[in-house]
């Protein structure tokens, strides 16, 4: 034996046996990872039921049902007259149809196989199914970066990491459910195309890019990531014919393909977001031509000429694009783009975007919550990419930088950061394992042998103290990129603690004990990661938010089902064409569960329409009534959490309604009027009159105080005492209030038959005499 080994390995195995066994083990590991990924997403189904979650998924589900029942063409040409009443919505042309088409294909395949699976179950289980594919594509991607073992680690990480689970639990039937798989696979195909210089993989990348464009608006991330990578490679002087082949085939096919999606249309040649890709494409053509010419002529002068012309054409192209932008041929950057760079932009100019909770900047703890120990392995992995710095590592580095920034800006973009964190952390972690599992011991000359042994001993004994263990492990992780470098650090740190007698020492890990210390620590981190992920998934990310859970005093689970109760009430007790007004958050749910027309919904394309609803909610009854009548509103639905402490209710969202309404009617609605003089947002006696007279306030607290039977009524969300004599309603009737008062539905009264305004009619019916001093005609509603 030439080299010493820390532990014995079997020697009588042939090369093919080893490779066969390891590939079998890889397949089994991937299968288990897929199983774990699917299983951990089923908490939502087990704890609750097989139900579509949240808001947007309800629309996707409704659209998928149309696709499954009426076929693809009906879906493609679907005009939905019930959304955005009275405008309606051209659904086929305003959605990314990839998700629905995927479910539709699965549905048709299963039915062709005589498996009559309900479309709802397909929709609920689509996200877990695709998470298994994501794990596989992440494996393929990471394999290109390092090796198979890093790939397996990355697959395991992405399979259970909460940052990805948060958007892909069973029932979370949203575009992201399939988009992350497509993202990773497109990147994998791109890297593969770049590595091999094969137009085949370029075309595959283009096809998956097309699928991605059809599935998620976040495709713009790919549209800019790949050109950025290509540009970085060019600037680093790494242009190669492989880059030309990969990029050109991806761009030429992919761009044309992306224009097939009606919602995208001509955007790839008309908007600034897509111009970077076009610019890099042009640049590559010029460079390729220049390279070709250079290969034929070696004249120095010609080369300078060529160089100047390349630069000149590049500048000319940039100027051309800028001029086209000013001429209006290319649409300038949109507000959504600006809000990525200036976090205050959206709040100032597009309150609708700012009002969405997932568009808020990310809080620091959520990085740890979503990624746990991966977040501190992540920089280590990126550093390792720098150490090797092949073309594909440049990609990971750029991806890491860009995605880290975006994840800091917007909570929902944590989703795009998660894959690269998994990849980088897997690279770091597997380097650590490689270093410490590798049984090779360095050759130690006889005289230093004793010294080395004492060094290992010292290392073993010192590392029994916990702080030094973690410190050492971290250090090892940070620098394990090239094993030799890691070992240099280890050995130098070890030798520093012992008297150094020889200047030159062999590098390596000595003995089993030092290996075990690091490895056990690493395994411990993995175990804690799994525990953390399971806990977060089960407790934080598996709530359908349509059904709420609370605990009974005895610890058993109590299901709060107010939403469905109310929506089914609407479905059963109202006319089929009765228009329901609510804040836009609930539009999709009303359409999906109650099947009633809505004024606004979660597809927030018409700011004015939303502002109209905001205005109706935030003005007094007299002002709101004409708005309601003009829009044929028959029912008004609000969410009120004051009774059981449900904090996501409309009073808490109320200020956004005010702000959005103020954006359109600055003269009539002013945000400061809804605060007390000291600038507080209150609902108790101290609330300002504008607040107390607003329709939203009145509907929320109507008859609320009666519930407390003479005691002080308390709003449990805001922890404030509500006035004993609650608001009165003249223009609306309470129609329905759910069990826990979460959903309250009001019916809009028709005009008085005698032509009085409703306020005086109400007063008359209650036997009050009309006060002569106040002429009622002034308050008459104009309809």
């Amino acid at each position: 034996m030439a080299t010493k080994a820390a532990y014995d390995l079997p020697h009588n195995l042939s090369q093919s046996t080893v490779s066969n066994t390891s590939s079998l083990l890889r397949i089994i590991a991937l299968a288990l990872i897929s199983g774990a990924a699917i299983a951990s997403r089923l908490f939502a189904v087990i704890n609750f039921e097989s139900i579509i979650h949240e808001f947007d998924p309800w629309f996707n589900y409704r659209a998928t049902r149309v696709l499954a029942e009426k076929g693809f063409y009906a879906f493609w040409n679907w005009f939905d007259p019930t959304a955005w009443y009275p405008l309606g919505r051209v659904v086929g042309g305003t959605i990314y149809p990839g998700l629905m088409a995927t479910s539709g294909v699965i549905y048709n395949i299963l039915h062709a196989l005589n498996l009559p699976v309900d479309i709802r179950n397909i929709c609920v289980l689509l996200a877990p199914g695709f998470s298994a594919l994501t794990a596989w594509s992440t494996y393929m991607f990471t394999k290109e970066m390092k090796d198979e073992s890093a790939g397996l680690l990355a697959a395991a990480f992405i399979g259970i990491v909460p940052g990805y689970i948060s958007r892909s639990v069973a029932g979370s039937y949203d575009n992201e459910a399939i988009a992350i798989f497509l993202l990773m696979f497109t990147f994998f195909a791109w890297i593969k195309a770049l590595k091999t210089g094969s137009a085949f993989f370029g075309t595959i990348a283009a096809l998956f890019y097309f699928y991605m464009v059809a599935a998620w608006g976040g495709y713009a991330f790919i549209t800019n990531m790949i050109p950025l990578h290509a540009l970085a490679l060019i600037l680093m002087g790494r242009y190669s014919p492989r880059l030309y082949v990969a990029y050109s085939s991806w761009y030429a096919v992919g761009t044309l393909a992306s224009m097939q999606v009606p919602f995208v249309g001509f955007q790839p040649v008309r908007t600034s977001e897509h111009m970077a890709a076009l610019g890099v494409f042009g640049l590559l053509q010029i460079i390729a031509f220049a390279e070709l010419v250079r290969s034929h002529v070696s004249s120095k002068q010609f080369q300078t000429l060529l160089f100047a012309s390349v630069i000149g054409t590049g500048i000319l192209g940039t100027v051309g694009i800028i001029v086209l932008t000013y001429k209006g041929w290319i649409a300038p950057w949109t507000g959504r783009f600006y809000s990525l760079w200036d976090t205050g932009y959206a709040k100032k100019y597009i309150p609708i975007i700012a009002s969405v909770s997932e568009h808020q900047p990310t809080a620091w703890p959520s990085f740890f919550m979503d990624l746990q120990f991966l977040i501190f392995l992540f920089p280590a992995g990126v550093v390792m990419c720098f150490k090797q710095l092949r073309d594909e590592h440049v990609f990971v580095i750029i991806y890491a930088l860009v995605a880290s920034y975006f994840a800091g800006v917007m909570v929902r973009l944590m989703l795009t950061l998660t894959p690269v964190v998994c990849v980088a952390a897997a690279i770091a972690f597997s380097s650590l394992l490689d270093t410490y599992i590798n049984p090779d011991e360095p050759d130690v000359p006889e005289e230093t042998q004793k010294d080395a042994d004492s060094a290992t001993l010292a290392d073993g004994s010192s590392s029994t103290a916990t702080p030094s263990v973690s410190k050492k492990a971290k250090k090892a992780k940070d620098s394990a990129a090239a094993p030799t470098n890691a070992l240099t650090d280890i050995v130098s740190s070890v030798t520093a603690s012992t008297p150094n007698q020889k200047g030159e020492r062999p590098h390596g890990v000595f003995g089993l004990d030092s290996r075990l210390v690091v490895l056990l620590n690493a395994i411990g981190m993995l175990v804690f990661f799994v525990l953390h992920c399971t806990w977060v998934t089960a407790n934080a990310y598996s709530s359908p938010s349509v059904v709420l859970a609370s605990q009974n005093p005895d610890g058993s689970q109590h299901i709060i089902d107010d939403f469905r109760e109310a929506y089914y009430w609407l479905r059963q007790n109202t006319a089929e064409d009765a228009v329901v007004m609510s804040w836009w958050d609930y539009g999709y749910q009303i359409a999906g569960m109650a099947d009633r027309p809505t004024l606004v919904d979660n597809n927030t394309w018409n700011n004015t329409h939303i502002a109209t609803v905001g205005k109706a909610m935030s003005s007094s009854e007299e002002v709101a009534y004409p708005i309601l009548r003009k829009h044929d509103v028959e029912y008004v639905l609000i969410i009120f959490g004051g009774l059981i402490g449900y904090s996501g209710d409309d009073i808490n969202k109320f200020l956004w309604m005010v702000r959005i309404a103020q954006g359109v009617w600055p003269d009539e609605i002013q945000e400061p009027n809804y605060f007390t003089r000291t600038g507080e947002y209150r609902v108790d006696d101290a609330a300002p009159p504008t607040m107390k007279n607003s329709l939203m306030y009145k509907m929320s607290y109507y008859r609320f105080a009666e519930l407390f039977g003479g005691n002080q009524a308390v709003d449990r969300v805001r922890g404030q005492a509500v006035p004993k004599s609650g608001p009165t309603l003249d223009y609306l009737d309470e129609a329905f209030t759910s069990e826990n008062w979460i959903v309250r539905i009001y019916q809009v009264k028709k005009e008085d038959l005698l032509g009085r305004d409703l306020k005086s009619a109400n007063a008359f019916e209650q036997g009050k005499k009309r006060k002569r001093t106040k002429p009622s005609a002034r308050r008459r509603a104009i309809v």
Binding site: G197, P241, R242, A252, L256, S295, H296, F302
Partner: protein, 129 residues
């Protein structure tokens, strides 16, 4: 000639500049015709044809009308796409680039080219309208 005239090229009258660049083009053309195999020349002819076709469409779009914009895009993209796919094929089969494309044999390159073209023209056909 090149090394000497390279530096004063800026100060000398443009006539000499033109002459040298003219010479350079001539040498380029000579080098091209001498060193390029006939197969690559065939591809180059195809590339040249595609370029002319693309330019013609673009000029038509700018000067006459872009009315069925999707049709123009489809036609133009088919030229550009076919051009880059053929150019990719050319780089892949070029013996000078052998070291770059270890995994892509000329046969494989042609298969890639065929697949890419089929996919491209499927989308072109769909987009013509």
């Amino acid at each position: 000639m090149p090394a000497k005239t390279a530096t004063p090229a800026k100060s000398t009258p443009s006539a000499t500049h033109d002459a040298t660049s003219h010479n350079a083009v001539q040498t380029l053309w000579k080098a091209y015709t001498e060193t390029t195999s006939s197969r690559l020349k065939t591809i180059d002819a195809f590339l040249f044809f595609l370029m002319l076709s693309g330019i013609a469409q673009f000029v038509y779009c700018v000067l006459v009308t872009n009315f069925p914009f999707n049709a123009f895009l489809a036609g133009f993209a088919s030229c550009v796409g076919q051009f880059v796919l053929a150019a990719s094929l050319r780089t892949q089969v070029n013996p000078a680039n052998r070291s770059q494309f270890k995994e892509v044999s000329p046969e494989r390159a042609f298969a890639d080219f065929a697949l890419g073209s089929i996919v491209l023209h499927f989308f072109v056909f769909n987009f013509l309208g």
